[in-house]
């Protein structure tokens, strides 16, 4: 197992280096970080020259990449091209916000999806099963931006009609978020809609997996054996079927989680949440390769780590799986 993990990590380093060079080249070739400055009437030539020299913008892309790599390794992802501002504090801040959103959404999504999936499987072809299936497909087919905007409109109108604010439509916190329970409630009201949006797609996916997995397990020989031995239906469902049916879901959740931590671009943009996704889009628009690369390295590392966790978890949960 240890050899397997080390081997996977070594492969990952190669993937990271290759991906970083490709992305750095693309971002640098497609954008000039000084473009906006150059468009300012009477921009100072001295300043443009200073920044060009400081960030080696007059060098070839491979040379610029080497400077970036050195900066990233020795100087915590380095500084922005314009302004020479440290990147890590901003990245840490947005990462924290995305974590809040994604963890809450995923926990709730898993809870709801597991309940729906298990119940659908146990009541296969019932009205509940058909309804859950229909809503799952609706959830999968609904564009995230549309759902986000519709929820905003709905809750704004609820506020206007009833003068009751259930959820806020934008930002991470209120003007006066307060502290303690007041802060928690304020945060919940701000994260409520983005969580619902993220949950919609996740619940749809997870519940389908859970249903399929549960159906496979409840019809297996060992479950039939358990029933034959006189184990209660609840015991069969919870102890024998449910636990084993969770294995595929764990893998899917781990893989999905790694991707989500890179930021949920649309959701964060619509709800003005200062997270990884919005950070990435903003920096990409500015055309500054340094913060974009920092984001990429963090995201790529997270995806690799969570892929690895998914593989390892699978091995732990399913004794039939062995890694050589």
């Amino acid at each position: 197992m240890l050899i397997y993990i080390v081997r996977r990590l070594l492969y990952s380093v190669v993937v990271l280096i290759a991906a970083s060079f490709i992305i750095f080249s693309f971002v640098s070739l497609s954008n000039d970080p000084l473009a906006f400055l150059k468009m300012q009437p009477n921009a100072s030539e001295q300043t443009i020259e200073n920044i060009t020299k400081r960030k080696h913008l007059d060098q070839s892309i491979p040379v610029q990449y080497v400077y970036w790599a050195k900066d990233a390794i020795t100087n915590q992802f380095g500084t922005t091209t314009i302004g020479n501002r440290p990147i890590l504090p901003d990245l840490t801040r947005v990462m924290g916000h995305t974590l809040q959103l994604v963890i809450a959404a995923e926990i709730l999504a898993i809870l709801v999806a597991v309940i729906i999936g298990v119940y659908s499987a146990l009541r296969q072809y019932s009205m509940f099963d058909y309804t859950a299936t229909t809503f799952s497909f609706v959830g999968l087919a609904t564009p995230v931006f549309w759902l986000a905007l519709m929820l905003q409109v709905l809750f704004v109108n609820i506020y206007l009609w009833f003068d009751v604010r259930i959820f806020y439509t934008a930002s991470l916190s209120g003007v006066d978020p307060g502290s303690g329970l007041h802060f928690v409630l304020d945060r919940a009201q701000h994260l409520g809609l983005p969580i619902i949006v993220l949950m919609a797609a996740s619940v749809a996916t997870y519940s389908r997996y859970m249903r399929a997995s549960m159906l496979e397990v409840v019809n297996s020989d060992y479950v039939r054996t358990a029933r034959a031995k006189g184990v209660s239906e609840r015991g069969v469902t919870m102890r024998h079927a449910f636990r084993n049916a969770l294995i595929p879901l764990v893998t899917i959740v781990a893989l999905n989680f790694g991707g989500l931590l890179g930021g949920v671009v649309v959701t964060e943009t619509v709800f003005a949440l200062d997270g990884m996704g919005l950070y990435f889009v903003t920096q990409l628009q500015l055309g500054d390769p340094y913060p974009v690369m920092a984001w990429l390295m963090v995201t790529a590392t997270l995806v690799i780590v969570f892929n690895l966790i998914a593989d390892i978890a699978y091995g732990f949960l399913d004794p039939r799986v062995r890694y050589d």
């Binding site: 497609s30 954008n31 000039d32 970080p33 000084l34 473009a35 906006f36 400055l37 150059k38 468009m39 300012q40 009437p41 009477n42 100072s44 001295q46 300043t47 200073n50 920044i51 922005t80 314009i82 302004g83 020479n84 501002r85 901003d90 801040r93 916000h97 905007l149 905003q152 809750f155 704004v156 506020y159 206007l160 003068d163 009751v164 604010r165 259930i166 959820f167 806020y168 439509t169 934008a170 930002s171 991470l172 916190s173 209120g174 003007v175 006066d176 007041h182 409630l185 919940a188 009201q189 409520g192 609840r234 943009t269 619509v270 003005a272 200062d274 919005l278 903003t282 628009q285 055309g287």
Partner: protein, 551 residues
């Protein structure tokens, strides 16, 4: 057993719901403290130092203009009015240009120190320090000396460098000398602003969410702020900005032109102000070696501008959708130097009215062949002119901008009906502005110049021979000399005359097609009294100390 489980689940759901909905029901916008105005903006400042490149943004000015006050400020009519100055800056001598001004006796920093000429001197020295990433040193580099005596300052410019926009230059916000000394100016005010000379002072900045200013009780140089706090909330998505406005999460905003404005206009809970600003959309024509040879012919350029119905484009973009109240409030731009609301504005480009038959006649008269005899909507015949080939031009602009895409579509159809073809070459802003525009490898380029009240004085850079930002490679020696003269003519009336004369010469060459001035919008809920649209970089907060709330 199952019933009990369901009861437990139902209880848990009810608990969570009550935790959220219960307190939420009382969490109305009125929960915000009285005397707080919340401004929504789509862009967040990167730093609070607006002299350096990363702080050179409108969103930074909105915050800093009321904290680091100017000697004079631009009012809603784009006129400079004294603020920290005790009167308008005076022109002492024309050559070498010498000006003097004085700060008010009660102009003071929030930490108790006086605002003096030493602050202006320190600001000048900081701007001229080559180590700092200053956005523009224009005008400052023409200063020969700054003499300071307490609150009085005399600035002398270099001989022959009578910087035309001297009044705006000396009116710039002085930075505090006692706070800048020995500091790395590139890093100064990156996270906070610890001193104020204006009606508000910095309180807190929750990055990515909001920035809070509070009333500066030490401010005596002008009227004290009526509200306790101004909060800037940053919402990058424009549709979300409108939702936040309607739900009372923000009260004031300056949105980009969007159709939602039309709905907001009909809502009695909001005031919508709109008016032309200093940013103007135009189509530049390439005169350099990489441009189309046909566009080097004046008659082709004249046919081009005659074949475009600029009034209809303005109508389709802003008037018909109801974004602006009427066509009168957004006239077709007929000058590249002055804006329609500026006194010296003259409709120099009006001589090129829309006339499709005339455009065809111009081309036919010069021996061009293959085009239509009459303008028709479904025409597919394109002119070829002697020695310069087919009139098919690359049209470059930024992708992802709906208004520009619509402008292109309308102009393309209009020109096609007279036998001139436009081929789209759209690209991301970074690429087209960073690489394509300076390279000169384009035929027609549509974009916006981000101007201001002093931009006219520096027209040489855009339209003079060899001007820094003359990406068209256009050169008319006579007009160019006049633009250069205007740049160093301190008398605004005389300068305007020279500029209008120069433009009349330039108009005959048709190096560019002026389209329209981009309108600015200011929306505020009726609960906030006082916001007035300001077309300059001073922005909507220019009179924030006069705002009041009814909550």
């Amino acid at each position: 057993m199952r019933k009990r489980s369901m009861l437990v689940v139902a209880g848990a759901v009810a608990l969570v719901a009550s935790l959220i909905v219960g307190p939420a029901a009382t969490a109305k916008s009125e929960r915000q403290a009285a005397g707080t105005v919340v401004i929504g903006h789509d862009q967040e400042p990167v730093t609070l130092n607006n002299l350096i490149t990363e702080g050179n943004a409108y969103t930074t000015s909105l915050v800093t203009n009321v904290v680091l006050a100017g000697g004079s400020i631009y009012n809603q009519n784009a006129k400079l009015v004294p603020y920290l100055f005790n009167g308008p800056a005076k022109l002492v001598k024309s050559n070498p240009l010498t000006v003097s001004f004085a700060y008010k006796a009660n102009a003071a920093w929030s930490d108790g120190r006086q605002v003096t000429g030493a602050d202006f001197l320190a600001t000048y020295r900081t701007i001229m320090n080559p180590n700092w990433d200053i956005t523009s040193r224009e005008g400052w580099e023409d200063i020969a000396s700054v003499k300071v005596k307490g609150k009085n300052v005399t600035v002398t410019f270099k001989k022959g460098k009578s910087y035309a926009a001297w009044d705006a230059l000396v009116a710039s916000s002085p930075y505090p000398a006692h706070k800048m000394a020995g500091k790395n100016f590139n890093d100064l005010y990156r996270e906070s602003l610890d001193v104020s000379s204006g009606p508000f002072k910095f309180s807190s900045w929750q990055k990515g969410t909001q920035l809070v200013l509070v009333k500066n009780t030490a401010f005596k140089a002008g009227k004290p702020a009526k509200v306790d706090r101004v909060v800037f909330r940053y919402i990058p998505s424009t549709p979300s900005l409108f939702q936040a406005l309607q739900s009372g999460e923000i009260q004031v905003t300056e949105p980009q032109p969007q159709l939602q404005i039309v709905d907001i206009r009909k809502n009695s809970k909001f005031n919508v102000q709109s008016g032309p600003g200093y940013f103007y959309e135009h189509m530049d024509i390439q005169f350099g070696p990489k441009g189309h040879p046909a566009l080097k012919q004046r008659y082709v350029r004249q046919a081009l501008i005659t074949g475009i119905n600029r009034a209809q484009i303005r109508q389709a973009l802003y008037v018909t959708p109801g974004l602006v109240a009427s066509a009168k409030s957004l006239p077709v731009l007929q000058s590249l130097i002055f804006k329609p609301f500026e006194e010296p504005y003259q409709p120099n480009w009006a001589k090129f009215g829309f006339n499709q038959q005339k455009a065809i006649n111009i081309l036919k008269g010069k021996g061009c062949t293959g085009g239509p005899a009459k303008p028709t909507a479904n025409n597919s015949d394109i002119w070829s002119c002697p020695g310069v080939g087919k009139l098919s031009f690359r049209f470059t602009t930024t992708s992802g901008n709906q208004l520009r895409a619509l402008t292109f579509e309308v102009a393309q159809k209009q020109l096609k009906s007279v036998g001139i073809e436009l081929v789209p070459r759209f690209g991301p802003a970074g690429t087209v502005f960073g690489q394509v525009l300076p390279s000169g490898d384009w035929d027609i380029f549509m974009f916006t110049w981000l101007g201001g009240p002093t931009s006219s004085a520096t027209s040489f850079g855009l339209y003079g021979c060899g001007g820094d930002q003359n990406y068209m490679n256009y050169c008319n020696k006579k007009a160019s000399d006049m633009y250069k003269t205007a740049q160093f003519t301190p008398d605004p009336v005389k300068r305007a005359q020279i500029l209008n004369q120069a433009e009349k010469i330039m108009v005959n060459d048709v190096p560019s097609v002026p389209m329209y001035v981009r309108p600015g919008f200011l929306i505020n809920s009726t609960g906030v009294k006082g916001p007035v649209l300001n077309p300059t970089q001073q922005g909507s907060t220019w009179n924030a100390e006069l705002w009041s709330t009814s909550n």
